[in-house]
Structure formats: C-alpha cells, structure tokens
C-alpha cells in the first residue's frame, strides 16, 4: 500500500482520511447529543487518532537505510510542507501560544515573528544546499564538509543537547494531555504518550514519521481552526475572525483603560495557585522595548535555522528545487495556525472581561462567578482562580487568574460550544506534541546511529545491523526523555526556547559558513561549535544563578551571545590555520549548483 503508486495517490489517501476524521467528529457530536459522557468522548478522540497514527506507522515499516533515514527522498513538496509544519508546531505552540499572547501581548508576539521569519533563513541559506549534499543527518553534513570525526562528533553533541532539551517538553505535553483525556495519573500518562510516539517512528523511521506527521497536521489544524471560527461566529465577532476582529481588539483596549491594571500586593498574590496569572499587560499596545522584542525574535529565527529536526525534513524531498518550495509550503501551513492564535487570544479575553457579554465575569459578584459550571470545572483543574482582594464582593480585573493553557482548552467551553470540541482540541494537542517529539527523538537517534555508530565506530556495519542500532537508540532516548519529563523540572515553554538558543549557539554559523564561506575549515568549525555551545551554556548558567547579564541578553536569548562567540572564533581560527584542501573546495562548488550528483549517497 505504501509502495510505488502510494506517492501518486497521496491527495486521494489523505482526502479520504480527512473526510473520515470529519465524519468521526460528526459521529461523536451525535453521540454527545445521545448522552455520551464528556470523559468517554475525550477517550474516544485520543484513542482513535493515536490508533490511526499507529496503523500508519506500521504500514510504513522498512528495512532500507534510505527509507529509514530520509523516507526514500520522494516526499512531494506540499506533503513535506504539512509534515514539517506538524514537526515544527509543538505541544507548546498548540496549547500555550494563545495563552502567552493573552497574558503578555506584544512582548510575547516576538515569538510569532521569530518562529516564522526563521524559515526565510532556512530557505535561502541552508535547506537547498544541504539537500544537494545528500546527507542523512545534519552532523553528516558537518562531518563531510569539514572532515574528521571530531567535527562530526561535536555536531552530534550540539544536536543532542538542543533536541533533548526540546523533547522532554514534548513528552511532558503528551503526558499532560493523555492524563487529562484518559484520566490517569501524569507519571503513567507520560509513558502512554511515549509508547504512542514510538509506535509512529520505530518501524518506519523517517518514512513512518513523515506519513504520520501529515496525518497529525490535518488533525491539529482542524482542531485549532474549527473552534476559533465557531467561537467568533457565536460571539457575533465576525465570520472570518482574522479580518474582522479590529473592533474587538479596540474594545479590549477600552476596557483596559476603564479597569486599569491594578498591581496586587505580594501578600495577595501568595494565595494564587502556582502557574496562574492575571491580565497585567496591554493586549495590542507595544509593551516591550525594541531590543527586547528584536533580540527574542532574532534568537528564535537563528535557532529555527539550526534545529536539526526541521532541517532533516528537507532531506526527504525529491530534488533541490522541491526542497526550496517545500520550505514555502511549510511556512504557509504554519501560518494558518500562528495567525489564528492571536485571534483566539482576543476572543478568549473579550468573552471573559467584557461585562456587556453574557460570558463576561469581570464586574459580576464573586459568589456568582464561583457558581458558574465552567468556572468550577477549571478551578478544579487548577487553571482558574478568583479572589476578592479588596473585599468589595465584586470581581475586578486584577482578581481573576488563569493558566496559560486554559485559553486553548477552556475557551470553547466558556463560549458554550459542545464538549465534542474539547475532545477535538485534546486530540489536536496530542497530535502536535507527538509529531514534534517523533521528529526530535528520530533526529537524535539517527545522528547517534548514523554518525557515531556507523561513521565513527563501525563503518563496515551492515544495513540490518545499523537499523537495529537506530531503533534501540530510539527507544532508549525516548525512555530517557520520558523519565526526565516525569520529574517535571521545567515548564513547557521555557525549555522549548532554550533548545533554540542551544542550537543556534553551536550550529548556526558552522552550517551557514559551510555553504557560504569556502575558506571555513575544520579547525574553525571545531572552535565555532565547541566555544559557541560552551559560552552559550555558561551564559545561561550565569544568568540563572543571579548574574546580571549584559546588553539586555536574557536567559531566553542567550543564543545571541553563544552564536556571536561561535562566529568570531570560527572566523579567527579558520583564518590563522591553512585553507581547506582542493577536494573540499570543489565539494563546496558542487553543493552550490542544484544539478549533478549529490556529494554523498545516491541521488
């Protein structure tokens, strides 16, 4: 089923799949009308979608290295775009992004600009050239371009540090959603999530991950857009929210003026459950300094272009030309969700704070708010909290607190949408977190199995043995990630941003200069990767342990410092050592033109 004409039939296969999924949503909503409980609906949504991914994972099983590492290099442009979008948009994008915008406004929206602008760098600086190179992994490019096992090994180290930081957050997110939807303790739910993730990638490697990611994108985008449009229409805000919410944005501004941002005393805030926040920042006004905004956007953009799990998706296209176009499609599919997140934040905020709307709670009496059904549900889930700080019996803006996740998870219920939508949102969040986790675990396992085991330890290993090693690593890394996730050390979003900073500290300039600067040599690359990563990590530790930092670089943007050190050390060391040999220079020339044979592997 997956061979030969499968590629030609892709639009049909995924068309039927999408129709089937919409049918499933309709069946569930009928079941809800007939009295199916909310809990059963949640279980059905998560179980049904995960079962489909597992089936796709099984059908994509393979014993060929080319299929396992790069999906046979035959993924069409548009479908690779969808797979990349799913690979890219993590549980954090899905569950936490609208919440971040809701609470922090402009300062947070630097992430929207950064996480999309980075794709311009991917398309113009890197993806087509790495595709021409014909590598299996990102360290494969570094190792071959600069030569030597040490460069290869350092690239694997940077990749592992960045991706592992990222993956624990994703497994954590699958665990959170599984524990809510299936109603099991988080410590077990993490492993349920992990097994679902491994089902997609173990048998088919990159091929399995590609086709499940396309399926996961379809689920997550329906699950994100359907509620946004529905809520907007139900509130009478406009049938196409993206173009029609200007009045709502202005109204929020008016209400902010009217209520004012009252600062709570530390004593009052001590009663608020951990992780919940109040509305303290303006919704659409510019509330961050230019450098705070730009530095965060810049760090995310350079990080995007250095994250190996994204880059390796472009190794799977049939050609260099297709790789370029595919980056455009990826960003288009990402744009569909990212441009909707601010709209959801606007709708969610207005529906809660506008006293003239039936759902508005600000200005109502505390007792009245506490008796609302959805308030009780989300208060129990530890995502909502009200307290009468000033003792006037009425809920003020500064007396209402909410968790970031609640914007995506609770808004449908607040707007009075049927529970089937909440089940759908759970399935979407699960899809987003699983697809990213799969991409990351595969990136780490592939780099270690291909670059460390095959290229450094045992270059004579047979394909079958290599693939066994790759799969064992996949499971080991997955379990290591799940174990750390189960300890719940950091929040989801913080560790995601660190991953970008680690990746850009160690990999951005070695990758870019590998293509764009012929003079870059092995010694330079070693210095760039090692010093970049070390100085970035040092800066993070320094700021975290009370250091003051400099130039306004924070723990969220430490990659700017790391990559600057990486650039300087790479250029200086390259220039004081001898230039790369003629064979390497010829290799760079060949990488720069799309035609002709790829540098390594078969075309």
């Amino acid at each position: 089923m997956i061979k030969g004409n499968f590629i030609d039939n892709l639009p049909k296969v995924y068309g039927i799949y999408t129709g089937g999924f919409l049918g499933f949503i309709i069946i569930m909503s009928i079941a809800e009308q007939m009295g199916m409980t909310a809990k059963t609906i949640g279980i059905c949504f998560v179980a049904f979608t995960v079962a489909i991914y597992a089936i796709i994972g099984y059908l994509s099983r393979t014993a060929q290295a080319d299929a396992y590492y790069v999906a046979g290099r035959q993924v069409p442009t548009v479908f690779n775009g969808m797979a990349t979008a799913a690979d890219w948009m993590s549980g954090a994008s899905f569950v936490a992004m609208a919440g971040g915008i809701y609470f922090k406004g402009y300062g947070y929206m630097a992430l929207l600009v950064g996480w999309t602008g980075g794709y311009v760098l991917v398309a113009s600086l890197l993806a087509p050239y790495l595709r021409k190179f014909g590598c299996y992994t990102v360290p494969d490019f570094i190792g071959t371009r600069y030569g030597g096992n040490l460069t290869r090994f350092l690239a694997v180290v940077v990749l592992t540090v960045a991706s592992f930081t990222y993956v624990t957050a994703q497994i954590n997110a699958t665990g959170t959603i599984a524990s809510v939807a299936l109603d099991i303790p988080f410590q077990y739910a993490v492993y349920v999530g992990l097994i679902s993730i491994l089902l997609c990638s173990m048998l088919g490697g990159m091929r399995g991950v590609t086709w499940t990611q396309v399926a996961q994108y379809i689920v997550l985008i329906i699950a994100y857009l359907l509620p946004v449009f529905w809520i907007s229409n139900k509130m009478g805000a406009g049938f196409f929210p993206h173009f029609m919410l200007a009045d709502e944005v202005a109204r929020i501004g008016e209400l902010e003026q009217q209520f004012g941002f009252v600062k709570n005393s530390a004593g009052d805030l001590a009663n608020v459950p951990k992780g919940l926040a109040g509305i303290t920042k303006a919704h659409s006004a510019v509330n961050a300094s230019p450098w705070a905004f730009i530095s965060l956007a810049l760090a995310m953009m350079m990080g995007t272009a250095s994250l190996p799990h994204v880059m390796m998706r472009y190794f799977t296209t049939p050609s260099v030309k297709a790789a370029r176009k595919s980056v455009g499609w990826s960003l288009f599919f990402i744009f569909l969700l990212y441009s909707s997140a601010p709209m959801l934040a606007t709708l969610s905020k207005l529906s809660l704070i506008d006293p003239s709307l039936p759902t508005g709670i600000i200005g109502k009496s505390i007792a009245e708010v506490q008796s609302i059904d959805w308030y009780q549900n989300w208060n129990q889930a530890n995502l909502m909290f009200v307290s009468d700080f000033n003792g006037n019996g009425t809920l003020e803006l500064n007396e209402f607190f909410m968790g970031g996740k609640a914007v995506v998870l609770a808004t449908p219920e607040i707007a009075g949408l049927p529970y089937v939508i909440s089940g759908l949102v759970a399935a979407g969040g699960m899809a987003a977190a699983m697809s990213t986790a799969d991409g990351l675990i595969l990136a780490i396992a592939n780099a270690i199995s291909h670059d460390v085991y095959y290229k450094i330890i045992d270059p004579k290993a047979e394909t079958a043995k290599r693939l066994v090693v790759a799969r064992v690593l996949l499971v080991v890394i997955g379990f290591a990630g799940a174990t750390i996730a189960a300890m719940e050390i950091q929040g989801i979003l913080g560790s995601v941003i660190w991953a970008f900073d680690f990746a850009m500290s160690g990999l951005f300039f070695p990758l870019v200069l590998g293509v764009w600067w012929k003079r870059a040599n092995r010694q330079g690359a070693i210095a760039g990767m090692a010093l970049g990563l070390i100085s970035g990590a040092w800066y993070l530790v320094w700021v975290r342990t009370g250091g003051s930092g400099f130039l306004g670089i924070t723990q969220l943007t430490f990659g700017i410092f790391g990559s600057a050190v990486s650039l300087v050390s790479m250029v200086v060391v390259s220039l004081i050592t001898s230039e790369p040999n003629a064979a390497t220079q010829k290799m760079v020339d060949e990488v720069r033109v799309p035609s002709g044979r790829s540098i390594i592997g078969k075309q």
Binding site: T116, Y119, L121, S124, D247, S319, R324, P342
Partner: protein, 86 residues
C-alpha cells in the same frame, strides 16, 4: 569569469536581496514599534499589532516562494537546474 562563478554571483545577489527584505519585516519595522502602532493598519488593527499577528508572517510566506522562483530562474539561465524532478 566561469559560468559557475557568474551563477554564484547572481545567487549571492538574490540572497542579499532576500535577506534585506527579511530584515525589514522581522527586525527593521520593530525598531519603531511604538510609533507605528499609532497608525491604523489593514482591517482596522493597530499597525504594529497587525504586523506581529499576520503581516510579517504572511510576507515571509510570499518572500520564500518569490525567492524560490527567482532562484529557479537563475539556475535555468546557467543550465544548472535539475532534470526530471517534481
């Protein structure tokens, strides 16, 4: 200058142009975020707010497709495009 050098020169020119446009909409305009937000942008949103929600994001999508088409033309001009793909 060899054909390959000419090809690379044009490619580099396109890269610089792409990065310049990218710089304007990812960094440049946000230097003036506060001032720009006083202006009403498309669909009635405050202008800076609109750029962070939709404007810059959409421009990046268009920019990548524009870049890909221009690069294909450059590759064809020098006979470096791939045959028999897509």
């Amino acid at each position: 200058m060899s054909k390959q050098e000419q090809h690379w020169e044009k490619t580099r020119g396109l890269l610089l142009m792409t990065l310049a446009i990218w710089f304007v909409f990812s960094i440049g305009i946000f230097l003036f975020g506060a001032e720009m937000n006083e202006v009403t942008g498309p669909f009635g949103y405050p202008l800076t707010y609109w750029f962070t929600c939709q404007g810059s994001l959409g421009i990046f999508v268009i920019l990548i497709f524009w870049f890909a088409n221009r690069q294909e033309k450059i590759d064809e001009e020098f006979g470096f495009s791939e045959r028999g793909d897509d």
